[in-house]
Symmetry: C2
Amino acid sequence: MNSRRDFLKYSGLAAGSLITASAFSGCDASGQCKVSNRVGKGKMKLRFKPYDLQLKHVFTIASNSRTSTPVMLVEIEYDGVIGYGEASMPPYLGESHKTAADFLSKINLEQFANPFLLDDILTYVDELVAGNYAAKASVDIALHDLAGKLTGQPWYKLWGLNAAKAPHTSFTIGIDTPEVVRRKVKEADPYNILKVKLGGGNDKEMIQTIRSVTDKPLCVDVNQGWKDKYQALDMIHWLKEKGIVFVEQPMSKKGLDEMAWLTENSPLPTIADEAIQTVKDVLPLKGIYSGINIKLMKCGGMRAAHKMITLARSMNMKVMIGCMTATSCAISAASQLSPLVDWADLDGNLLISNDCFEGVQIVNGKVILNDKPGIGVNKLSLA
Amino acid sequence: MNSRRDFLKYSGLAAGSLITASAFSGCDASGQCKVSNRVGKGKMKLRFKPYDLQLKHVFTIASNSRTSTPVMLVEIEYDGVIGYGEASMPPYLGESHKTAADFLSKINLEQFANPFLLDDILTYVDELVAGNYAAKASVDIALHDLAGKLTGQPWYKLWGLNAAKAPHTSFTIGIDTPEVVRRKVKEADPYNILKVKLGGGNDKEMIQTIRSVTDKPLCVDVNQGWKDKYQALDMIHWLKEKGIVFVEQPMSKKGLDEMAWLTENSPLPTIADEAIQTVKDVLPLKGIYSGINIKLMKCGGMRAAHKMITLARSMNMKVMIGCMTATSCAISAASQLSPLVDWADLDGNLLISNDCFEGVQIVNGKVILNDKPGIGVNKLSLA
């Protein structure tokens, strides 16, 4: 783990971009760094720290492989209560420790009277700079955790949701050799639905290998890997015979006409992933996909995700909630919304060996929300 | 006031339609009536009682006049905490003490573990019977009040809103003689925006009369009163010259093509009122109106209204929150959402002489939210 080194590297850059740069003198030996706030009763303090998640297995999807994921751990403190947040930044999405530190350094929470002003604060954060959705999500999550703790309630209760309706989560099987795939399916024994990465050129082999060892329901994620709509439809018909329940991002996010045709003809629901980012992208997908995969790191956090679900439901679209590789912090935040969705893919914390939070549990494959306030996590001493 | 008589009349009918009719034996001397619940720790108890609101002035819109409005006062009690709700039922919307009592008698809250299961409970209430939106709103409001009280927070805070952004409310001037209109404008002195009812055949006289005594911003509500789109556009141009800020429901709710043409050509925003009921009606209005007027009694309550605002904003539509004649109970509930809207028309409690709640205040024309939990009301002994 090199988070201390990264912290030093990026904290310097961050301080350079700050108006209230002197606040950085508060960085302490643990690598925590106070930003943009005088210490004072009733003022929010934002701190952040880089961290690298170690993956248990090399992770391969249609476009790349990797062994670690950089995240930024965020804290917002108010009157002695700390809210936790996290930005998970797989490299292909364009964010990094540096971009997150730059962005977070620009945020001045001191101008807001209290953490309950979620709408004002998150609108300000959203409008501060374009992009930086993972970094924005880290602030959104920390603020929700903080406000939830101040009310003493978990967010699923504040949203009026029934924890018993939290879904089973899928467990992801990456593109690999039959031997590795069979081993991973065995490791996935506690999970009742598996998510299979396709689009790597060996799609039928992947499915046949998995079907040789389990008859569990499967969903597939093609990550834009299929190039021709007719071949895609043929494959979907074949997949339906094999007990697949939906197909995520079968073709390029850019081919809207082809996707609309595929969705109209597909015997399985089609779910947009790369094709959707945030709130403004939901309504234009009507008729193009059957549903959307919402991820906090793409949309900017819990507030945006909640709105996206309202929009998708108003169009009778399916909703899936997904994740990046992340600690139990971001996964527990996403889980607060999970009673609202059809399918969950919230295994990002199960894929890492150095989770520095404990929160939502997966028991017999089902998301189990706890009664803790906010996003329902405890920070471990690891980070 | 004849609420005791009405209560006796309708409680009998309600009991007749009840499966758990024996619960009605709990009706007490004050006219409160326990419905569909055994008394027990951790069970919700629903009670309701008819009440008639006395209007300070005869109220005339394009279609009718009246001097009182029937409402149903609702309480949901859970572990000694009471949430208050209200159904306001102006006769032209088709609900009455009888229909509300029939509907409320069908509700069994005993099956739900606690009031935080808002989504489950309100989905159940919504699906129980078609229509009955005011009666549904009364349950929604009481449940929000109860859940908010159990968290110790007002709903505007649970929704992350800034009370300082609550809008000014308009004050409504009905169709009347110049003399009466001038007197009403003087009574409306504390209000900074007036809502003028048009469509009664004397539109220019109404506006000229008001302009002879005040230069305050005005909005107009035509209640579908204009029949021809060209004349409507001419009138809107004339109104713009007179300082009108928007035009509510200028023509029939049925003429979508005409409305789309009018909205496209109108120099003032057009706001749907009769043309919109609840969540499912928002998306189809894209391009037809510039905005929507949301009323709890039409859409079924606070949960639906909050969703409608999310939908309207995602289409860049304007949002107005309106009301029926109601006590401070329903008005305070609607006010919780008001920091999210462009315009508020929340004067329904100011038009009656027998308000049995105190809650949101109007100070110098502005909606002032208080810090009380839930919907922020106290019940007075009047009812």
